[in-house]
Amino acid sequence: MIDYSKEFEAIAKAYEASGGNPDDLFDKKTASLVVSHHKILFQNSIPGVNIDGEEIQNGVKARIVIEPETVVKDPVHLCFGVIPEEGIQEIVSEFEIGEGAKVNFIAHCSFPNAIKLKHIMDSKIHVNKNAEMNYVETHFHGKDGGIEVLPVTKAVVEEGGRLRSEFKLIKGAVGKLDLDYEGKLEKDALCEFDTKVYGKGDDKVLVKESLFLNGENSRGLAKSRIVATGRCVAEVLGEAVGNAPNARGHVDCVEIIKGKDARVSAVPKLLVVDDGAKLTHEAAIGSVDKKQVETLMARGLDEDEAVDVVVKGMLR
């Protein structure tokens, strides 16, 4: 039986509330890193997965290395949380995915009591040749929205490598989100960024996803799904640069607005440098699709219920 300290217990509870299973965090067979504010509560490496965390002034610096050709059976669990109402948490992380390795990460970020809090995520990802990394980060915020979330990711995906990264912030108030993800792709590499945010109250949401398709046959997708309600202001910048023959990039943005005071905008930027590259974008911003709502109303749901079903599906 694990002997939780109070902090341990609080972070585990927050993790559970955000949809995770606390037992996964402390299972010795699973690689994991648990950080509360600027303290490492628990870290566990397993064969082929080395997690090296170090406490710094306002947070934690972590280097996570997956050894070449390692196929990691269970997801690596990362848990970052702050229980107090105020403070700064800075997570500086470096992911090194060795050649031919395959790994899934499940990250939970929990800030249930935030009043004046700043959460900075500064990540560098290096996906080596023919390696595969899937990363899902889910946020759980309290209702007050007194938080700034500043995730920055710079990723390099080498030849034949694959990176899929999903960011979800749909529970609780967003506060202020300024997300900036960048992927640089080499030959035959693939990179997908998928951001889902449910903005409420006075939330401010800025999402920037950039893809640099530098290698021949590289493939990139910058996808975002944003719902803005209340007085939320949301802006999405989707960028793709085609620098190589047969590179393909797609920017896909859907933003739904509910209420008269919310504002959404989308700015796609496509730049073709190599004449063999092809980039596309689609953006749909505005109210919920009328036909979707009426279809569900024709099954007996009232308008609010129907909109809820559409929105929840989109943000899933």
């Binding site: 859907v254 979707q292 009426e294 109303m297 007996g300």
Partner: protein, 246 residues
Amino acid sequence: MLSLSNIELKINGKKILHDLNLEVRKGEIHSILGANGTGKSTLASVIMGLNGYQVTGGRILFDGEDITNFPVYERARRGITLGWQEPARFEGLTVGEYLKISKRFSGDGFLSVRECLLKVGLSPELYLARAVDGTLSGGERKRIELASVLAMKPKLAILDEPDSGIDSLSIDHIVDVIKTFSRTGSAVLLITHHEEVAAIADRASSLCDGTVVKTGEPLAVAKFFRNHCEECPHVNQPAEEVIGND
């Protein structure tokens, strides 16, 4: 059960439907025949009460209740539903979840979600977990729409061209599904271009220039349609073009 009397629909001053009278009896299959642009899909939208299709004249009675001004969901809760000609796609919503929404209104004593899928010729194992999104073909989506309507066990199912976009080999299957509605106690208002599909009905009506011009035995109405309507100059501007699709 459903009675439309002197229905008029004007959109932007343009008459789309006028002097339209129609009765659908309890449990019957009632076909609607008509050339493109004569108002068939508009009629379906009017009965369902979709936004932009509120009648400008006449009355709609359902089981004796005046539902003319009811919103879509109130009509649905009284037992009317619609299977769209081109059904909506839903990102992130699985087929199982979509069908369960309908099941809320039919309850446990009726066909299960799995059985509804089997009725439309789709394997539950392959489809229940799939999303009702753009990864489904047009034919698959239409079958799922039929399953969704079936799962609701409506008193009246309005099926807008359930046979369009379906390969000819599968038409017989779709006809079987439509008969299933009838067997399970639902009346069906069946909008179709295919005379052979319309022929399965108990009664049929032909639409021309936004009004019903003939009602009767299906073969007789089909013959009337062939002789009078196929080259008829009375073609409306479809209401969807006047309203716009958003």
